[in-house]
């Protein structure tokens, strides 16, 4: 490392630390007793060091309150949505990328147009539709709308296009059917792309706010993101700052862990999701 670079690292460490401070503060507050926090939030080092220390807030979260239940809902919805999106996107992506059939161009264009429709432009009609079906306050109501977003189809389509043609042709000569080729040859190859799409979808599902807000009105069907929103407006009076912050930490834990383990895929996923839809 050259001298200039190490100076640069030190110079950049300051803004990087500042960037981390808000998150650090949330974690630190979640480990401080509520009666102390009611008096001051800057006990030790502006509150950035959790002293006096307690794990009470986390114990209270799991003993009573709906946070664990909401957390479970989020897991169910995010997992269901991820599996659903993977299923419809890999199949459709493969067909559009590798197979020849009438109206292929038309269908691809129709799918492309869907990228332009933002969630905010359809959430009202979706609400009335789901109300007509009596579907609100259910897991499938939270999962289904995102399965219709064509971004995954495009990610998978791009991936399948890049696979060399001869793999398929060899299988065809052996008399293997198209669906078998898809299932036994293409899907194993597509694992990295599916991983990227899975992470993109899981992050989206975990963090989505607007659609759960209109669709899930009963607290039993809140996701953790929605539940956290419902308790933060009157945090100080009812539950105590420390406990609300502990909920925030719990709500962030899966996505942060996911990010730290699969950083490369997360970055790829967000870049792909960002540039294409």
């Amino acid at each position: 490392m050259t001298r200039g670079t190490s100076w640069l690292v030190i110079a950049l460490a300051i803004p990087a630390f500042l960037w981390l401070v808000p998150t650090l503060w949330m974690v630190s507050l979640s480990f401080q007793p509520n009666d102390v926090l009611a008096r001051t939030t800057s006990s030790t080092a502006l509150g950035l060091v959790p002293w006096p220390f307690t794990a009470e807030n986390y114990a209270a979260l799991f003993a009573f309150g709906q946070t664990p239940w909401w957390f479970l809902n989020s897991l169910i919805v995010a997992t269901g949505m991820t599996l659903g999106v993977l299923a419809v996107s890999t199949t459709a992506g493969y067909a559009l990328a590798r197979l020849e059939f009438p109206f292929k161009k038309t269908i691809a264009t129709i799918c492309l147009i869907g990228l332009m429709v933002p969630e905010q432009a359809v959430f009202i009609p979706l609400y009335t539709m789901f109300a007509d079906f009596g579907w609100h306050n259910s897991y499938h109501a939270l999962i289904l709308p995102r399965m219709a977003v064509p971004i995954g189809v495009f990610l998978m389509m791009q991936f399948f296009r890049a696979i060399p043609q001869d793999i398929e042709e060899a299988a065809r000569l052996d008399g293997v059917g198209w669906l078998q080729i898809f299932w036994h040859v293409m899907l194993p190859l597509a694992r990295p792309a599916m991983m990227t799409l899975a992470i993109l979808t899981f992050l989206y599902a975990w963090n989505d706010y607007l659609w759960p807000l209109v669709s899930a009105q009963q607290r039993e069907y809140f996701t953790i993101t929605l539940g956290l929103a419902s308790i933060q407006s009157n945090f100080a009076q009812s539950e105590g700052l420390g406990r609300v912050m502990a909920s925030g930490v719990i709500a962030s834990l899966p996505v942060v862990v996911l990010f730290l383990i699969f950083q490369r895929y997360v970055v790829q996923a967000m870049t792909a999701g960002g540039t294409k839809g």
Partner: protein
């Protein structure tokens, strides 16, 4: 299972393709395409959420009246001096677009898009009620204005800081990789966690910012309840939240610039800030355009920050379009008017998506 492979093998290529496409096309048609048209249809009706829920016949076709009630008013006039500053800025942008498009400094579609946006700003900002007139909906255009102010602050804020950081972080070393991770971390948090953190950060009684201000003997600011600072507060939270994605896109763009260019420039004593200006910026032009458009689309849909941190207040100063749609639909139960606004949102965002598509396609060519 002897049957399944047999069926699979007997399918023709087209049959297999349709079978594979069917699940996606079904959910796509049912949960995206159909709702979109249904939204347009609702916007043409006087449609009360609660009344129609009890009695499906309780809606009335009113044509374009919802659009009129939202966007128009009584005795509306147009003049060049209704909002002189905004309109002059629009005219300047229009002239700039014409000039850069003509001299070829911007590609033709980009210049055209910029020109259309600028012309629309000049036209729309020039509308105002006459002496006897009034807007049917006094809150709609100010809300659109707030949304644009938010976009106008957040997009340059994110873009500039991400650009500078990306240029500094674009080095291969473990320390740099760790720093990149730190800057990206906040991006994966949900909007409710971000607003939770920043609501308390900004709190005048308990907030970290207030604590620091008091440490230096200052008086804490009521960030979220002071009309002067509320918008700034949600912009700061937003920049903190969404810097990561811009940073990553810029780093990817920087990877594509050849190292030789910098080495050649270093021979001419062009390094550091000068190299950034003369090599990095020109070569990164397309990535910058893409990041800016992406951010515009993203931040135009802002909802959570305003809804949770300031509740649109104080005095509507942070009321944004999606929150207004949400409130009109689900608090005032006026789905017709809310849908008309949603169609407006779609048109604005659709225009930017088209620009994004054109710019993005240019990149891959």
């Amino acid at each position: 299972m002897p049957l399944r492979p047999k069926i699979g093998r007997s399918l023709s290529q087209a049959q297999a393709a349709y079978a594979l496409l069917l699940p996606f096309l079904a959910v796509y048609a049912l949960f995206l395409i159909y709702p979109f048209f249904r939204g347009v249809w609702i916007s043409l009706h006087d449609w009360n959420l609660l009344e129609v829920a009890f009695n499906p016949a309780a809606k009335e076709y009113v044509g374009l009246r919802n659009y009129e009630r939202v966007m128009w008013g009584k005795d509306i006039e147009w003049s060049l001096f209704a909002a002189p500053l905004i309109q002059l800025a629009g005219l300047a942008a229009l002239a700039g677009a014409a000039f850069t498009g003509w001299t070829g400094r911007l590609s033709r579609p980009t210049a055209l898009a910029l020109g259309v946006v600028a012309a629309l700003v000049v036209l729309i900002a020039g509308l105002h009620p006459g002496e006897e007139g009034r807007w049917y909906d006094r809150r709609f255009w100010p809300t659109v204005g707030n949304t644009l102010v938010f976009v106008g602050l957040a997009v340059p804020g994110v873009t500039l800081s991400a650009l500078v950081l990306a240029a500094a972080l674009n080095r291969e070393s473990r320390a740099m990789a760790a720093l990149r991770t730190l800057f990206f971390l906040s991006q994966v948090l949900s909007v409710t966690v971000v607003t939770l953190i920043w609501q308390i950060m900004f709190s005048p009684r308990q907030g970290l910012i207030a604590n620091i201000t008091e440490l230096f003997g200052g008086t804490p600011i009521n960030w979220l309840t002071d009309a002067q600072f509320a918008m700034a507060a949600i912009v700061i939270a937003t920049i903190w939240w969404s810097l990561g994605i811009a940073l990553i896109l810029f780093l990817a763009g920087l990877q594509d610039i050849s190292k030789d260019l910098y080495e050649a420039a270093a021979l001419d004593h062009c390094t550091g800030v000068r190299a950034f200006r003369h090599i990095t910026l020109p070569n990164l032009k397309r990535t910058i355009t893409l990041v800016v458009i992406l951010q515009i689309i993203l931040h135009f849909q802002v909802f959570g920050q305003s809804h949770l941190m300031t509740q649109g207040g104080p005095n509507d100063s942070t009321q944004v379009l999606v929150r207004y749609i949400y409130q009109t639909g689900f608090r005032d139960s006026d789905l017709g008017r809310a849908s008309a606004m949603a169609v407006f949102l779609f048109v604005v965002m659709g225009a930017f998506s088209v620009i994004q598509f054109i710019v993005g396609r240019g990149k891959s060519q």
